[in-house]
Every structure is written in C-alpha cells, then in structure tokens.
C-alpha cells in the first residue's frame, strides 16, 4: 500500500509554515537556501540536484548526494 497522503500533506505544510513564519525578510528562507548551496558548492563539486537543503522549525539539513547515490 502506498503512503497515506495525509503524511505528505502535513510534512509539506510544516515546511511551508516554517518558511512563512521565519520570514525576517519575505524571501529569507529562499536566500538562505541559495547561499548555503553556493557555500557548499565552493568546496564540493555538485550540481543543484545533488544538494538537498531543508530548513525546518529547529534544524537546517544539508544533504549531499555524491557519487554513491
């Protein structure tokens, strides 16, 4: 059986609300994500698809999907 869609909805909503509520500036989360990406890619050779940045209420996750992926 596939994942119940309510879990996907809640996860997506929580992420949206975090970016909405964080908004020191309206696009703060977006800019932070971009800068984190740029910083990482200064040291690691990676395309945009290989770095996944997730900002939640309490954590900032940076996931690098290297050659093994």
């Amino acid at each position: 059986m596939s994942v119940q869609s309510v879990y996907i909805a809640k996860e997506r909503l929580k992420n949206l609300l975090v970016s909405d509520r964080v908004q020191c500036a309206p696009d703060a989360v977006e800019r932070l994500t971009k800068e984190l990406y740029q910083t990482v890619s200064k040291y690691v050779e990676a395309g945009q698809g290989q770095i996944d940045i997730k900002i939640t209420r309490t954590d900032i996750h940076i996931k690098y999907m290297g050659e093994n992926h």
Binding site: S5, V6, A9, L13, L17, R21
Partner: protein, 267 residues
C-alpha cells in the same frame, strides 16, 4: 452593543461567504439581530448566497460616500426578521473605501445589532484591511488542504498584528471518510498546526450546494452541514455545545463502516 466579527480566510473559495450567510441566518433564527456586510467590493456574492440579489438598490459604497442613508441600503430579509444585509458594490473597486471609513461606519451601526458579520474578500490587500478594520473578533475559515491552511496561518498572523486576538477557526468541507483513510488532515491535525481555538467543523455536504443553488441556507435544515452551522451559531450565542468528535467511529455512518470492517476481519 453588537459584537463585530470578520469572517476571513486568505485563500479564496474555501467558504467564507457561505459561512457568513449560514451563521447570519442561524443567529437570526436564534432570535438575534444580525447585520451581514459584504465587503468584497467589485465581486458581490453574499446577496446571491442569501437569495437577496434582486432587492439591491444601494450598497456599501453609496452609504460611505453619503449618496444614500444607511437605512435605504439595508435589505431586510423577509424570511428571517432579525437579519439585514448591507450589500457590496459590483462596479467599484477596493480603493473606493478606506479602513478608517469602515471603522467609522461600523462604530455607528453596531449598537443597533447583536452581531455584525463582515464577509471579507480573499487576499491580504486593501479589501482585507477594510474588512478587518472595524472588527474585534475573527472567524478564520479553512479547508483541510495545504494551501488553505497555509493562508489561514498567514491571516492569523496578520490579524494578531492588527490587534485582533480573539481568533477562532472553522474547518470547512471535512471529508470524514477521507480522514479515516489517511488521505485528509483531521481536525486535530489542523488545530495543532494553526494553534487557535476551534469554533466548529462543517462536514463536506452536497446539501450546501443545493441550498446555495436555491438561495437558501443550509443552517437549520436536517443536513449534517446545517446542524454543524447551527452548533456554531449556538456557540457564538454563548451556549456550551461540544464539537462533534469526527475522530471516533460515531454516528450511523461510523457504525455501518465499523460493522463491515469487523465482518472483513472475521473472514
């Protein structure tokens, strides 16, 4: 002096106008004097949902500009003696009215009513600012969907920033079968995320569409949505009515589906 409540949502199409109409009628059935004001300038709708569209002569902008007296613009509903509508203007836009003018108008009329309900337009621009200007309390309507809840959260933030702290939630169009299947957020999911008090839950009910087609309310009829709207009205009227528990296997539907599940388990 009447309570002034704005019905708002951020997102369009979630049921603000239907909720305003049904709460307005429900409160008037309970014997209250109610004024409903359509603040959506340019997109007049509340009159249609109430079935009063053929009786409009003057509108909100006429009153504010002084082109008519307030009494001339008010439409008294013949079916519900306690209910009056102040319709919106169809050919004007949001900038025809300012928040200051709305505040002044409402402070002048609120003493004649027990409740003044303001039907807010979608969005967060001037139409929203106009609608909330004179309000001291808000009902936020949301459906259990990501986009609608996100907008509701934004709206709650804006209301609080404007000094409106008595904010209550109406969850509209809940599909109990989908919640049970795990394909729709439950009442608890939504209230947990938005962290405001729950005023009521309206189950998704085709009777609302049928009633709206006819320009009649669902409130007060025997339908599930009609009963839920009436419960909301009683709560606004100060009665202590518990929120129906949609998480439990209650009611006839629950019993039937529970029965089938047991049968399947036994095979």
């Amino acid at each position: 002096m009447g309570e002034v409540i704005v019905i708002t949502s951020g997102k369009g199409g979630v049921g603000k106008t239907t909720t305003t109409a049904n709460i307005g009628i429900g409160l008037s059935i309970l014997g209250k004097k109610v004024l409903v004001i359509d603040t959506d300038l340019g997109l007049r709708n509340l009159d249609v949902v109430l079935g009063l569209e053929n009786r409009i002569v003057y509108n909100l902008v006429d009153v504010i500009e002084g082109s008519c007296r307030l009494k001339q613009a008010l439409i008294q509903d013949k079916r519900y003696p306690g209910l009056c509508l102040l319709p919106s203007a169809q050919t004007r836009d949001k900038t025809s009215v300012s928040p200051e003018q709305m505040t002044k108008l409402i402070s002048e009329i609120r003493e004649d009513y027990d409740f003044v309900l303001l039907d807010c337009p979608a969005g967060i621009e001037q139409g929203f600012q106009n609608a909330i200007a004179g309000a001291e309390r808000a009902i936020i309507v949301t459906t259990p969907e990501v986009s609608s809840i996100r907008d509701a959260d934004r709206i709650i933030g804006l209301l609080e920033a404007s000094g409106i702290r008595r904010n209550e939630l109406v969850i509209n169009r809940l599909r109990i079968d989908m919640v049970r299947r795990g394909d729709m957020m439950s009442v608890d999911d939504v209230t947990e995320i938005l962290a405001v008090d729950l005023l009521g839950v309206i189950p998704d009910d085709e009777q609302v569409v049928i009633a709206t087609n006819q320009g009649e309310p669902a409130v007060g009829d025997g339908s599930a949505a009609g009963r839920s709207y009436m419960d909301i009205c009683r709560r606004l009227n100060g009665e202590d009515i518990p929120i129906e528990d949609y998480t439990k296997q209650g009611g006839l539907f629950g019993k039937i589906s529970g029965f089938f599940r047991r049968n399947q388990g036994g095979q």
